[in-house]
């Protein structure tokens, strides 16, 4: 038997089935169907809708680029972009290092490690809406509010929290950091397990203290994970919705109006929801921006994460 005959037999349908190809497809099929139905199809519909004027009940009319022009000329758009960027920066400043520090410290702890891990992950178990409603109660701007009372004991406050343009966004970030840190801590802890112990031993032999070990061993070893969590966080913060929607509705005076909230308002803000076209147009623009941003990010960081 020559090699050509052998190759033809190998590629035959029967061989493919015997080789487990069909089983693979059967196992993958539910996922493909669900993903196609609930992710790909809505995305495709959104792309189409961005060029239509529709109320989802009557016949849709083609609107060309009108929806994009409408969104780009909206005076609230620059405000929403600025606010979203502000949220992302604050979330980065507070939300990125805190889980990392937490994970590194927890990995160093010898006793009650499980307890600390549980404690860190606990906020992730609380349903996000419940967490926001809880924090809304804590953020009561009256002197008798929970946070204001606690801070009052050390002579601080009372602070207006959600009722002030300057305080509102940091208040949202604080809750979001609390809610999101647990999941990231778990990722970092898992990555830390993968750091070879010999590296720490070698560092210790070289006389490195804890900070030098973290700086020269831990962080470089976590570099790949850090880059991934960073981009995931940036994408997530660009799509922040839950906190501004539930805490402030975008207020006070648009101080927490984000791009996602604007999309929601286009679609559902007026009770009869006539602007699904504008909502999907802005969604498309945001998705395109994030896709380009991610590509540039990965291109720029490829050499660092592989070195």
């Amino acid at each position: 038997m020559d090699s050509a005959q052998h190759s033809a037999r190998r590629r035959g349908p029967l061989t493919w089935v015997r080789g487990g190809g069909l089983t693979t497809v059967v196992f993958a099929l539910p996922m493909i169907i669900i993903f196609g139905l609930f992710s790909v199809w809505p995305i495709l519909r959104s792309v189409v809708m961005a060029f239509q004027e529709t109320n989802l009940t009557g016949t849709a009319k083609w609107a060309g680029l009108d929806n994009f022009a409408w969104v780009l000329s909206d005076p609230d758009l620059p405000i929403a972009i600025t606010n979203t960027a502000y949220f992302a920066v604050l979330a980065l400043v507070f939300g990125f290092p805190i889980p990392l520090i937490g994970a590194v410290l927890m990995s160093e702890v010898k006793r009650l490690k499980g307890f600390y891990t549980t404690l860190a992950y606990l906020p992730a178990v609380i349903p996000p809406v419940v967490a926001v409603l809880l924090w809304r109660f804590f953020y009561d701007g009256a002197p008798t509010g929970v946070f204001n009372q606690l801070l009052g004991w050390i002579g601080l406050g009372p602070f207006p929290w959600l009722n002030d343009r300057l305080w509102a966004m940091p208040s949202l970030v604080l809750e979001a950091t609390w809610a999101g840190a647990g999941g990231t801590v778990i990722i970092y802890l898992a990555a830390l397990v993968g750091v070879p112990g010999e590296l720490y031993e070698a560092a210790e032999l070289d006389g490195a203290g804890i900070w030098r070990k973290i700086w020269h061993v831990t962080l470089p070893q976590l570099r790949g994970v850090l880059f991934i969590t960073l981009i995931l966080q940036l994408i997530a913060t660009a799509q922040v919705f839950l906190e501004p929607y539930l805490f402030t509705g975008g207020g006070p005076n648009k101080a927490t109006l984000t791009i996602l909230l604007m999309i929601y308002n286009y679609a559902f803000g007026a009770s009869l929801g006539s602007d699904y076209g504008a909502a999907t147009a802005l969604s498309m623009m945001l998705a395109a921006f994030l896709a380009v941003f991610s590509l540039i990010y990965f291109r720029l960081t490829r050499s660092w994460s592989q070195s």
Binding site: N55, L56, T57, G58, W70, D74, P75, D76, R136, D140, G141, A142, G145, P160, L162, N163, D164, R165, F247, T248, G249, G250, G251, P252, N253, K254, Y264, N265, A267, F268, G269, A270, S271, L272, G273, S274, Y276
Partner: protein, 470 residues
């Protein structure tokens, strides 16, 4: 929505509800006969009908009352099975429910949304069903017109009490502050003075308004109308123009600014919508606020307010053109519903919302049930059919009225003479949405520039109005 429809709404404009009030005030207005029990042809086959139920968080008594009403209905209509669904109309969730098809077969909408829903083909034509009801022709035409399409057919059915906005006040806080709870304020200056006294003496918010989910704009419109302003004007060509920067709105915002920053009498929470302000009021955290006159029912059902603390007063009206913002709730059926569903829906709407106005037996049965279940009976309302009909209805149920009417006399004694005004006719919710940030700014920024804020909001509103009129 087509420009024609918009112009039609604009043409009906501000006068429609005013005419309603005038018609209702007429002693000669026709009243449906008590003997005219609602009838409608029954569905041909067994029908499962989903309908809006109570507000989320309704008390067990309210839920029991609804369950009993469903039982009575199903006994009378053996081929209809009714399933109720918790429901609170919110501008920000209604569209999602509508688009997602998650609304029940019968749902409630504000008066001002009906024309747009009809133009969009989003609600079913109920004209055939309406014609079968004896009281169908007895609706006040100025109320019924809100639910009629350009073809003259009835699509949305007037369902819940037609309301004017009132000033709700906490009598207990009034007493604690050294104010007379039987003498609520009659001018905005008095509202401000009383609010300050309440805040100073009780630490509760003396006066505050809703700020979120378009309710900030809604209640600012109320305050504007009370000072003779208008949010939109309609030209001879039928085109609406935004007038958010009118003197009435400026005065209303200056009032809020003074209450908040000069008097420190507005409390510390300015994230308030219809539900949360009710909650705070029932909990004794707010001295006064403005909302629909019928909100007492919800305050009892959803917030378990103590009747003793509740008071309802007339909103101060200043200037000849001042009036009270009115509104109401209509019942609608999903577009594309089958004949049987529409027939069943008509029967349910008739039973749940309307039969009490046209039949003494139904009025007594409905309210006796509510009375037995400790639900509010006799909350003030504006007449849906005629003034005479409302009087008749209230005479029927007089022995069962359990709401503290003597705490509401300031309102009930003055509302008949007040001019009731409609909501802004074009892009109503967009206008309200543009005003929300203005109200929030005044409450949260000591240096808020009212003129600049209103100029910006006016541009936003005009943009939405222009789009709606395209």
């Amino acid at each position: 929505m087509s420009a024609t429809i918009r112009r039609a709404i604009a043409g009906l404009g501000v006068v429609a509800l005013a005419t309603t009030a005038a018609a209702c005030a007429s002693p000669t207005a026709s009243s449906p006969s008590a003997s005219q029990a609602p009838t409608s042809s029954a569905p041909a086959a067994p029908v499962n009908l989903t309908v809006v139920g109570l507000l989320p968080g309704a008390t067990p008594e309210a839920q029991k009352n609804l369950a009993n009403q469903v039982k009575l209905f199903e006994e009378a209509n053996p081929n209809i099975t009714v399933t109720t669904k918790e429901y609170e109309w919110k501008a920000t969730t209604f569209a999602a429910d509508l688009a997602g098809g998650t609304l029940p077969d019968v749902f409630e909408i504000p008066f001002t949304d009906a024309k747009t829903l009809i133009a969009n083909g989003q609600i079913a034509d109920m004209n055939d069903q309406l014609g079968e009801f004896p009281f169908g022709g007895a609706f006040n035409p100025n109320v019924l017109q809100y639910g009629q399409g350009p073809d003259g057919h009835a699509y949305a059915i007037p369902a819940k009490s037609v309301y004017g906005i009132g000033l709700h006040y906490n009598r207990e806080l009034f007493t604690k502050a050294g104010l007379d709870p039987n003498k609520p304020p009659t001018t905005w200056d008095e509202v401000r003075a009383d609010a300050k006294q309440i805040a100073d003496k009780t630490k509760a918010a003396g006066y505050v308004q809703m700020t979120q989910s378009n309710t900030g704009g809604w209640q600012l419109t109320v305050a504007t109308y009370a000072r003779g302003g208008q949010m939109e004007t309609v030209g001879a060509d039928g085109k609406a123009t935004a007038t958010l920067d009118n003197p009435g709105t400026k005065a209303a915002l200056q009032f809020l600014k003074d209450v908040r920053w000069t008097d420190n009498a507005a409390g510390s929470n300015f994230n308030l919508d219809w539900g949360t302000i009710n909650q705070a009021f029932a909990a004794g955290q707010i001295g006064m606020y403005t909302s629909g006159q019928d909100v007492y029912t919800s305050l009892v059902q959803a917030n378990a307010i103590k009747p003793d603390i509740y008071g309802l007063a007339m909103i101060p009206l200043e200037g000849d053109s001042a009036g009270i913002l009115g509104g109401g709730t209509m019942a609608a059926v999903k577009a594309g519903s089958s004949d049987d569903i529409r027939k069943a829906a008509a029967k349910w709407i008739s039973h749940w919302y309307l039969s009490r106005y046209t039949s003494e037996k139904a009025a007594l049965a409905f309210n006796q049930q509510a009375f037995d279940d400790k639900q509010p009976v006799g909350t003030p309302e504006l007449p849906m059919f005629s003034d005479a009909n409302l009087e008749q209805y209230r005479t029927w149920i007089k022995p069962l009225i359990n709401v503290p009417l003597d705490h509401m006399t300031d309102f009930t004694s003055k509302i008949g003479a007040a001019k009731i005004l409609n909501e802004p006719p074009v892009a109503t919710q967009d206008v309200y949405a543009a005003l929300d940030p203005v109200v929030q700014a005044v409450f949260t920024d000591k240096n808020a520039d009212i003129d600049a804020l209103l100029a910006a909001a006016n541009k936003t509103a005009q943009r939405a109005i222009d789009k709606a009129q395209r």
